[in-house]
Point group: C2
Chain length 110, copies 2
DNA sequence: TTGATATATAAACATATGTTCATATGTTTG
DNA sequence: CAAACATATGAACATATGTTTATATATCAA
């Protein structure tokens, strides 16, 4: 099934969104909707797990800010984390977000 | 190609996001990330076009608030509009958002 | 042209969000 | 146990966002 076919075949799926799920979907999307968070998701889509320092270095971002964003996404259930010694590794828990971002990224109109 | 395969095959697409596109994608996602706007998109995914009143009635929402959300999504390029007499009809311009929402909605973890 | 209908807009406000800075916590190593 | 390292946390702030209310604009019909 291709992306275009998904669009056509699942029209009514959106219609079936009850208000609780509506809130959840909106909440996840809101959490993703930030350049740095998208970048982090991008990194974690090609690396099974990364520690905070890895991410800071790869993105050239501040430790504290990065940590805040990671905590935020973890709280939303998008990421998970495991401590290994001094490091804490983050990984993608909600893999669907890859599809979401990929889909938007492919979009010609942007 | 299934959704899972899309995820696997397009890993590097996220990685290729330059900072300009990153901003755009984040911006669109931020615009979508709201329960009422998701509902509107849902309605417009099964109706080619709807006027403001239609949408207000179907969602039980206030005219002004609805209008604000519609204007917002139009400004972001997600919706388009056409006047027909007294009515202004809105339609989906950025169809990709259907896939985004459908993908999130399918997500078991939510 | 007036009234009714449909929609947009602007101001005001409350709330949420992103960022920075300083500091705290937890872990390893010597 | 102290020092170094990795990360988290909390306060403070600026900015952005969602909502309401009131009013303006546009179109049609009589």
């Amino acid at each position: 099934m291709k992306v275009e076919e998904i669009q056509l075949n699942t029209e009514d799926i959106i219609g079936n969104l009850d208000s609780e799920k509506l809130e959840k979907v909106a909440f996840i999307l809101k959490t993703i909707a930030h350049p740095m968070r998208i970048s982090i998701i991008g990194l974690l889509s090609v690396n099974d797990k990364l520690c905070v320092n890895d991410i800071c270095e790869k993105l050239g971002s501040e430790q504290s800010l990065t940590s805040h964003h990671l905590a935020n996404m973890k709280l939303s259930g998008i990421l998970g984390s495991v401590r290994e010694g001094k490091n804490i590794f983050y990984y993608l828990k909600l893999k669907e977000v890859i599809t979401v971002i990929t889909c938007m990224n492919k979009c010609q109109l942007l």
